[in-house]
């Protein structure tokens, strides 16, 4: 009996083979490798020279909460920034996937309004009326809001790494630096400790408004909550994670999009850089080392979207002098 994972791989592989048989692809690569993407597309192909299509097959994955949906949004942003806005990015969701109604309909709308092309089930893709060639090989259909968001992100990423210094993050890329404390304990005592160190009030679970609703053309406005916040040279919004050499990429995908969506605010119906001085800080218990030939990969990624990074022991100093 094949295991669930084997069955999933076979289903995905069959789906990608079907796509390749249905479109005119001059060149293609399954499971490609682009070093800066936290999640690789499942398939990338060239319909004709000068045009690219990247496909994320989330088939059989359950995308029914904001955390996962924001991870998908991050995939889209990263691949657009890496390959260029001329790349068409499509997502295929599975039958276990995204509900049409109720609270989940906004999740569905975010995905529908962000990706260039969306198929809600693999079956819908196989339907002869689906127009697969048109959906996957034409020019991308980015909304003007998403195009503006990507343009601003490109500029912001460009600027945020201008003063990157490896030596400041040595501890965070040391694979031997293991997490030391259970996360609930750290989340309980670190705010107290910081409040005592700085002699300042700590706000627990602050909610900060983001531009997800605007970028995704949703009906509501949304916010992200943080573990705690404190006043300093900026208003610091602080999250804590436990991380090791392996298995942190899913967390990082979410955190990347979280910071991107907090960089801006909506003024007079258009996207502007946030006026209010907000600085997100990510406290990392453990390490976020990349592969041995590129240990700073994830440090660079998080810095590029605006996080300040620190270990628990350095938090007070970062808030005071950061």
């Amino acid at each position: 009996m094949p295991s669930n994972t084997q069955r999933r791989r076979t289903n995905k592989s069959q789906l990608l083979d079907f796509i390749l048989s249905a479109v005119d692809a001059e060149h293609f690569q399954k499971a490609p490798y682009f070093p800066d993407l936290l999640r690789q597309p499942d398939l990338i192909f060239v319909p004709r020279p000068g045009r690219l299509t990247a496909i994320y097959a989330y088939d059989l994955e359950r995308i029914d909460n904001w955390h996962d949906a924001i991870g998908c949004l991050e995939d889209l942003i990263e691949v657009k920034l890496a390959l260029g806005e001329h790349a068409l990015v499509a997502a295929i969701f599975g039958k276990a996937g995204v509900a049409k109604e109720g609270a989940n309909s906004e999740i569905r709308n975010l995905l529908q309004n962000s990706f260039d092309s969306v198929f809600w089930t693999a079956e819908s893709l196989k339907d002869p009326k689906s127009g697969i060639q048109e959906s996957l090989c034409s020019a991308p259909k980015l909304s003007p809001i998403m195009a503006e968001f990507l343009y601003r992100e490109k500029k912001a990423v460009f600027q945020s790494l201008a003063h990157f210094e490896k030596k400041r993050y040595l501890e965070l890329v040391d694979p031997l630096n293991k997490p030391r404390e259970p996360l609930p304990d750290l989340k309980r005592h670190l705010p107290e400790w910081l409040g005592n160190q700085l002699n300042r009030p700590i706000e627990r679970k602050p909610m900060v408004r983001n531009v997800k609703g605007f970028v995704g053309s949703l009906e509501r406005q949304y916010g992200f909550d943080f573990d705690f916040g404190v006043e300093g040279r900026h208003w610091f919004a602080i999250d804590i994670i436990r991380a090791g050499r392996y298995g942190t990429r899913a967390k990082l995908r979410y955190l990347m999009a979280k910071a991107r969506l907090l960089r801006y605010e909506v003024i007079d119906g258009s996207l502007k850089t946030r006026q209010f001085s907000l600085q997100p800080i990510l406290v990392i218990d453990g390490n976020i080392a990349g592969p041995s030939h590129d240990p700073y990969r994830y440090v660079r990624a998080l810095l590029s979207v605006g996080w300040m990074l620190t270990q628990p022991s350095d938090l007070a100093s970062v808030v005071e002098h950061g």
Partner: protein
Amino acid sequence: MKTFKKETAAILIQLRGSLWAPHPEVADVISEYEHFERAGKTPHQERRVSLQIFHASRAIDSLLAHVVTHEASKPLKQPAPPIMTLGSSQIYIRDHSIDGQQLAATADAELTDIRNDRNLYLHKANLFPADGTIQSFLDKTIRIISAVSNFNP
């Protein structure tokens, strides 16, 4: 033996799908990376890495030289450097930009790394890069090609 198939395939598909792909000079760059891909099948380690460095260097040199020459040919643009090298292309992009865009600081630093690695292994006798060096070289190359592909021709 590491053949870097995925990395090479990523470079090739990125170039073939980039807005620069229709330019004949970029077709030559693609051919050079195809040579790089075939070099991966050379069984002898030192010969293999020597060929890989040789092809990868020619490819990235030629890509940047084309991007710079193309930009310099536009009206009212700064003329291209008299001798096109990886370094002179890098300086041109840094000083004059391509269609108003430059390389990010990290990409610029990685291009310097590529240049230094290339110079070291092409000019020093009996010195060969380890697979890790080639891996790092290719990762940086993918990022540079990504950045260059994002420039508007």
